[in-house]
């Protein structure tokens, strides 16, 4: 939030102008939105504002763009919509941002205060609707409250555990005159996130680590949010223990690092899943024991003690008991833990060599891999792997939800934080394209690739029009397996290959390159392995327009390894009906 007192302070203006001045004072440089009746008064001062407003084609696109922007910049993303259907179109992205702890501020217009509760035209109780998945939300009917509420909204969204905040403003509050007064301080009696960890919890954690012989760093998205990747690396190297990074934490620790065992969870590596299962200590940093990581909870890491460091006290003990709870910002936690651990290790240096040897053996015996299709058609994994290699580790990747998302998390090497953006907690199909748009706006000099599914792409591709018209040259790889592939995979495995309603026929309709061209993008297609690299290079060479590549891939590829939903991590499969050969491993 801007520290200076805005020059407009004390000036008479409409509530609408006050709203826009407040957003400026909060440091907003860009917002994504689409106007309508109830929010229209605000669009008049937006016309003159220094804030860049990007006119989307669907409010869901505005919400995910704000999320993508926030995930690459670490600042709050802002979206704005009108009442009723405009506001309800933000529901999915807000739920998505809540699940993945992304700071987003959503502004919605509401019907005039006198009409609230009358089923007025385009009235929806958006505050009521979004209560379960906003960190907080507001309904403003008095224009004098606008600056204070906006200041609070940004404060709440960006501090503590980040999350979305919605501000619903009645139309008459936008129209009435008010005196603008940007608050000098924010006092919220019920909101005091604990940032600094207790020193006792730090020394308890250090002592527990020094006593363990099979510790593992279980790293979650909180480490990226707290910008704690450099500190994490230091801590890891002091102990020399294996590391796993969850779907939300890809990039928090370099994939190329020898201590990195990969991603745990339903489609995690054998080494990462087993590291958690066999550990005697989980050093949990900004992660939340999600069911996609733990598998059947009662069989998860049964011999492990748990250190759980999180900024959200409600995460401690929610799914798994913590032996040592460290509540605070994970960057402060790690920073405090480094000297504490050094001191503890000076007294008692555990021998981790057997543990590391076991883990490295799993890592080399069961690397991620895939078979090329026997019919010579394009392999989806290979497409994604080549895009990762050719575009390099400074590229920002977003993904939709499905098989392509899992392959993008597996076969691209993430070396830096904030280069992998996806919808982890919500699993929102349609996240990929608008999130890439927001990411490119937040990091205009970076190459941004959306790795999207043919199903996902058809949910939100209209934002490519927004990209084309606003000079936001993202690149989209459609991994076209002509099906809702992940659902089809479950049907293959659990429903006797009865493919009820998962075939999309998207090698016939739509014609993706033509659709892309119609939206002002360059449309390319590739269906032969021998054309793969040159198609990617062609896409890489176009930087003044969005590019869409229709990669027409083999339909039957599956995501492995897999821990079937509801089963134990111990039942991980590396291929259909194939478990790792545990007998040959000394565990």
């Amino acid at each position: 939030m801007a520290q200076h007192v805005p020059t407009a302070n004390g000036t008479e203006m409409t509530g609408a102008t006050s709203l826009v001045k407040s957003l400026e004072a909060a440091g907003v440089d860009v917002m994504f939105g689409l106007p309508g009746g109830a929010i229209l008064p605000a669009y008049d001062p937006i016309y003159d504002s220094t804030i860049r407003h990007i006119l989307v084609r669907h409010e869901q696109g505005a919400g995910h763009a704000a999320t993508g922007y926030a995930q690459v910049t670490g600042r709050a993303g802002v979206c704005i919509a009108t009442s009723g259907p405009g506001a309800t179109n933000l529901v999915t992205p807000l739920m998505d941002a809540a699940m993945d702890s992304v700071p987003v501020v959503a502004i919605t217009g509401q019907v005039p205060s006198a009409a609230i509760g009358t089923d007025a035209f385009q009235e929806a109780d958006i505050r009521g609707i979004t209560m379960p998945f906003t960190k907080h939300n507001y309904l403003v009917t008095d224009p004098a409250e606008i600056p204070g509420v906006i200041a609070e909204a940004f404060h709440i969204a960006t501090t503590g555990r980040p999350g979305p905040v919605l501000v619903d403003v009645a139309k008459d509050a936008l129209q009435k005159m008010t005196t603008f007064n940007w608050p000098t301080s924010i006092k919220l009696a019920g909101y005091n996130p604990k940032v600094r960890p207790d020193s006792q919890s730090i020394s308890d954690a250090a002592a527990l680590i020094a006593q363990s012989s099979k510790p593992v760093f279980y790293v979650g998205g909180g480490v990226i949010k707290a910008n704690a990747h450099a500190e994490l690396r230091q801590l890891v190297e002091i102990l020399g223990a294996p590391v796993v990074t969850t779907l939300m934490a890809r990039g928090a620790f370099p994939d190329s690092h020898p201590l990195h065992m990969g991603m745990p969870g339903m489609h995690g590596t054998v080494a990462a899943v087993t590291a958690l299962q066999k550990a005697d200590l989980l050093i949990t940093l900004g992660a939340r024991f999600d069911d996609r990581v733990t598998g059947k909870l009662s069989t998860f890491a049964v011999n492990a003690k748990v250190i759980h460091a999180d900024i959200d006290p409600a995460e401690i003990g929610k799914n798994r008991h913590a032996d040592v709870a460290v509540v605070g910002d994970v960057k402060e936690t790690i920073t405090a833990l480094i000297p504490a651990l050094k001191a503890a290790l000076a007294k008692n240096q555990p021998d981790l060599s057997t543990w590391l040897r076991q883990m490295n053996s799993l890592k080399s015996t069961y690397p991620l891999g895939y078979d090329l299709p026997e019919d010579g058609s394009l392999s989806p994994q290979q497409v994604i792997e080549r895009i990762g290699k050719i575009s390099g580790s400074d590229t920002i990747f977003t993904a939709g939800v499905g098989q392509h998302q899992m392959w993008a998390s597996q076969f691209i090497s993430y070396e830096h934080p904030r280069t992998w953006l996806n919808s982890g907690g919500a699993g929102t199909m349609g996240y990929g394209v608008p999130a890439a748009m927001g990411a490119k706006v937040g990091a205009p000099n970076a190459t941004v690739w959306a790795i999207d599914g043919d199903g996902c792409f058809q949910m939100t591709n209209q934002e490519l029009v927004t990209c084309a018209l606003n000079n936001i040259p993202i690149k989209v790889a459609i991994i076209n397996n002509e099906s809702l592939g992940m659902v089809r995979q479950w049907q293959t495995l659990f429903y006797d290959s009865r493919y009820s309603n998962t075939s999309l026929d998207s090698k016939r309709v739509p014609n993706f390159p033509m659709l892309a061209e119609a939206m002002g993008c360059v449309g390319l297609a590739c269906d032969r392995p021998e054309d793969l690299d040159k198609t990617i290079e062609k896409a890489m060479s176009i930087n003044d327009q969005p590019v869409v590549v229709d990669f027409r891939v083999h339909r039957d590829a599956m995501v492995w390894p897999m821990v079937a939903a509801g089963t134990s991590n111990d039942e991980i499969m590396i291929a259909r009906a194939t478990a790792p050969d545990w007998d040959s491993q000394e565990l």
Binding site: P132, H136, D312, A314
Partner: protein, 97 residues
Amino acid sequence: MTTNRRQHTLEVLVENEPGVLARVAGLFSRRAFNIETLNVGPTEDSSISKMIIGVAVEGHSLEQVIAQLDKLVSVISIKDVTPKAQEVHDTQPDYQN
């Protein structure tokens, strides 16, 4: 699990603002926490209301109820005011940070 569940009484101070009851009730319902009793009343400070909430949970579940309640920005403080005879904790945690 049900046999020795005792009722705990929580005294919750909240911002006196529209929608606050929905926030608290909605939290209990979506997290599948049971409210046994609920009373809302004023305090000397007109900007603050007091809720007395009876819940039939203990241990970790009670801690979760309190921690999740505490996340609501409109919730100012939570005290476990279970009458002594029923109380199961020897220390009273301070959730007001």
